[in-house]
């Protein structure tokens, strides 16, 4: 235990770590950069480079802002002290005085070069370069208000540049008032994130967001505007014109003219929007009500439902994947615009497909957990089959509502190229408050019951949350491919499956089956911790990817499952399923 000690002299004080003060309060541990720094702004030292005077480095040169006659450094500068308390001192106390010229060691530098005043950064850096020792400055008075009488001659002063720290103890000169050295630090809760040039603060605040729903606009049940372009246009969060929905530019330079300035932010901070889930919101935030679904009857019913859902996830994952490979290779098109669109679309669809694969795993993980917890009477085992029916939007012109009186419409899983209607089908599957959502809501409601292990509901909640994201992504892809002909972005409008016996096709299918085998092993053993099977499966997925690309180059798709050929597609089958 450290006894109670009181540092007395300067070196003792400098060496004492006060309990409770973090190390960041000590100068030597500080980030202390000039950007303007997180603990200590060095530039504030240079404001008092000349004893008795305080300057500000403005855009039009170093300007005298104060004469400090109590400056302890003046003790060593009797001549200067006398001057400052005399006629010249009085002159300096009135009007706007700027440094015209600085001289040291025989070199003189004018603060005006080529007819222009040196900017703040440059003049500051020149002052920073001054050595200890005699400095001579020449000050001139400038007219700042009309009718000002500035008949004074320039004033020349000489003194030794301030010793910023005591040479023996390292203690900062006592001329600096408390708070003076930190007065210009970043103030992230005010406006400094506006211009944080190292983007430290910018990482914590929004810059590009989605617009909130304009009142009166038709919206989807999720709250997003129905019009995808409105819903998905990125706008500048710092825009001065709060009613603007102009898309944000791609660069800071493009956006800057339309943004709030520092003082605007300080005065109109209330106008800056709160952003939730990437979207501005100005009214009271209503979190989406948790689905008031009914829990399923029993753990066995739950396991059965999960088994079905896993198959559904599997099916759509394959559909998405197949569609992804139907898109042209961006490298093969000339247009920059189309290149970007294809890259984006491929990437987004792929992300959704991978997300579905994750859901497949989680559904299986939930099944395993239920078995492991001894809650099931019949063994269910891993579910790696493919659903035979996938929900579809019943009326493309009308957003699907839930629950539908007429029941849910479905279609068989189909491997198709990314035609506009196919993309629409994808969107329908991922519809928030859509079919899939509803199914999982019942799962969630069930898992919330006490008899189930407490952490399981989180997986279900995650799956539901992902749904919104998939929905957005597909809609963004839709926006990006609007006004383009499918022949522009698809390898082929038919993009058929590779036929049996096709070397590349068989190889891909083989890999796919191997993946399923590994996943099965993994899901049987609850291979979540060790994950060796998962690892093998993943490696195989990379292989599958290159095989799929190879096929795609021939405008063929991987024959994941026997799929109904496009031209033979029947109209959607209506079923009446109880929810």
């Amino acid at each position: 235990m450290i006894p109670k000690i009181f540092p007395r002299n300067l070196t003792a004080r400098a060496a004492t770590l006060v309990a409770g003060n973090p190390v960041t309060t000590r100068l030597e541990s500080g980030v202390g950069n000039c950007f303007p720094g997180l603990e200590f702004d060095h530039r504030n030292l240079d404001r008092r480079f000349f004893p008795g005077l305080i300057f500000e480095f403005t855009a039009t040169g170093p300007r005298l802002v104060n004469v400090d006659s109590n400056d302890p450094e003046l003790k060593g500068e009797p001549a200067l002290k006398k001057t400052l308390s005399g006629k010249d001192g009085k002159s300096l106390a009135e009007g706007a005085w700027f440094i015209q010229q600085i001289t040291q060691g025989g070199t003189s530098i004018l603060m005006k070069q080529g007819g222009n005043d040196l900017d703040a950064m440059t003049s500051w850096r020149l002052v920073r370069c001054l050595q200890p020792g005699k400095v001579t400055i020449q000050l001139e008075r400038r007219r700042v208000t009309a009718g000002e009488n500035i008949s004074q001659e320039p004033i020349t002063l000489s003194a030794n540049r301030r010793n910023y720290v005591d040479p023996q103890t390292g203690v900062i000169s006592t001329a600096y008032a408390p708070g003076e050295l930190t007065q210009s630090l970043c103030s992230p809760w005010m406006h400094d994130f506006r211009d944080c040039a190292c983007f430290y603060w910018a990482s914590n605040h929004p810059d590009i967001v989605l617009a909130q729903d304009p009142p009166g606009e038709p919206t989807l049940p999720s709250g997003a505007p129905e019009d995808p372009s409105l819903a998905l246009t990125p706008i500048d969060w710092l825009r001065t014109d709060r009613s603007s929905t102009k898309p944000a530019g791609a660069t800071e330079d493009e956006n800057r003219p339309g943004q709030m300035d520092h003082y605007e932010i300080n005065q109109r901070w209330q106008d800056l929007a709160i952003v939730l889930q990437g979207r501005e919101i100005s009214s009271v935030y209503q979190p989406r009500q948790p689905e008031t679904a009914n829990p399923l009857a029993s753990p066995d019913a739950l396991a059965a439902r999960l088994s079905d859902l896993a198959k559904l996830e599997h099916a759509v994952a394959l559909e998405y994947l197949y569609a992804r490979y139907s898109l042209k290779d961006p490298a093969s098109v000339a247009s920059r615009d189309l290149k970007d669109a294809l890259t984006f679309a491929q990437h987004e669809i792929f992300l959704v497909a991978v997300s579905e694969m994750r859901h497949l795993r989680w559904a299986n993980q939930l099944i395993w957990s239920l078995e492991h917890a001894g809650l099931l009477t019949t063994k269910v085992g891993p579910s790696l089959g493919i659903a035979d029916q996938i929900p579809v939007a019943s009326d493309p012109s009308r957003p699907p509502q839930l629950p539908s009186i007429k029941g849910v419409e479905t279609r068989p899983p189909q491997l198709r190229p990314l035609l506009p209607e196919v993309l629409q089908d994808f969107i329908a599957v991922e519809q928030p408050s859509g079919f899939l959502d509803g199914q999982y809501s019942e799962v969630l409601a069930t898992l919330r019951e006490p008899k189930y292990p407490p952490t399981l509901e989180q997986l279900a909640a995650r799956i539901i949350a992902d749904g919104m994201e998939h929905f957005s992504r597909f809609r963004q892809v839709q926006v990006v491919l609007t006004n383009r002909k499918p022949t522009d972005y698809l390898r082929s409008e038919t993009f058929p499956l590779a036929s049996a016996g096709d070397g590349d096709g068989d190889a891909a299918l083989n890999t796919y089956n191997q993946i399923l085998t590994e996943l099965d092993e993994a899901y049987v053993s609850g291979d979540m911790e060790d994950a060796s099977h998962i690892a093998v499966a993943r490696a195989l997925m990379f292989q599958l990817d290159s095989q799929a690309r190879k096929l795609a180059a021939r405008s063929l798709g991987v024959p994941f499952f026997p799929s109904v050929p496009l031209k033979k597609m029947k109209s959607p089958k209506k079923t009446t399923k109880k929810r």
Partner: protein, 451 residues
Amino acid sequence: MDRLVILDGRVAPPGSAVSPSETPPLLHLLSGDRPLAFVVEGSLLFGLEPNAFASMQDNPAAQEELINSLRLRQRNSNLAAPVPLSAPNSISLNIAQSCNLSCSYCYADEGRFGGRASMMSLETAFAAIDRLFAEAAGQRVTVGFIGGEPFLNREVLHASVEHAVVRSRETGSTVGFSATTNGTLLTAFDLDLIRRHSFSVSVSLDGGANTNDRHRRSFNGKSGFQAAIRSLQPLLQNSGKARIAARCTITREDLRVLDRIDALADAGFSEIGVSPLRTSPEPGLAFRDDDWLIFLDEMVRAAECEKERLRSRLPLRFSNLAIALKQLHAGYNKPLPCGSAASYVSVSTRGEYFTCHRTIDNPGFNLGNAASGLSLEKREQFLRSRHVDRQEPCRSCWARYLCGGGCHAEVLAAGRSGCDYIRGWLEYCLRFYDQALSEFPSLFGEGEIAS
């Protein structure tokens, strides 16, 4: 924290077989109503609560814990001279190796330094000044005038000052001036120079008339005191921008301190310092071992009087105390006793460089000459050998970085005595400082400080 173990000037690896008495103490405890701990490394002074102090006594673990909790600068464990050794920024010109007085104890043998009386020529003075400015690289420099009695060579003194001012303007290095004088020969012309150029003048006077004239006599036996006061009067009444201080040499014949201070204060001095005589051509004057305890008593008595003056809002006169307080406040911490051979050198009338004004014309302390300049090697060698961590018994003394080991010239001539006195005086000053920091914070440029 690894302790530095020093054996014969070499750093021994930790764990070497060294007896405990040889390891220097990390801190020094001062008991009393306001207990203190003085950390040797860095000269850090801490007040302690009484029970905290009690727990630290005879408890090396607790002491080490305290030290480990501090942020200490790593001392340069290389016992070489302070690195990097730059050119001195201060010189003293021995412009007159001759004196109009014959003080019995004078180290300079009536100014002659054992040789024949001589004066410095203009050329020699100018050359030394030029070299000072040339090598000072824009720093502030000081030119001092000493002797003998420097004002015996008035012409060279005045001309040197003007020359230095010119050089100062040319190089941008500000220049300060100093002079050590018996004060008996100053003319109005001299006083004007002193005021105009803000000289720091050290006047050698030992006290009131009787005290002073006991040892400080002119050849014809006339009173040195009267002569000095007479010519100094105008300056004492109006010093302008100059600083005047009196410096008393104390012999064992009269160990009193306060009386001297009072007398010189009455004569008009506002700054008075004392120095005990350690070496002397005339026997029977230098301090002996049993004198030191009495002398410490006298020093403390004088300082206590100063404390009362401070309470009456009167300024300090006793410069030994004033300097000690200032240095303790700043955490003065040096392995050498002064700047000699480092930031300061002295020039003889013939233009030879010596480590300081006490070692003029002593061949062992020669550092070069006007023609060849200062020998860096000799300076480094000298300083390395004088480093306090190489000195016995200094290297195990808690006060070594305040004391520095004592004046090189005196120690090498007469050895070290009175170390107990030094430690006693420093302990007293530490306590004085601690109290003064609380009672008279403005003395240190501070506002109210808690505790």
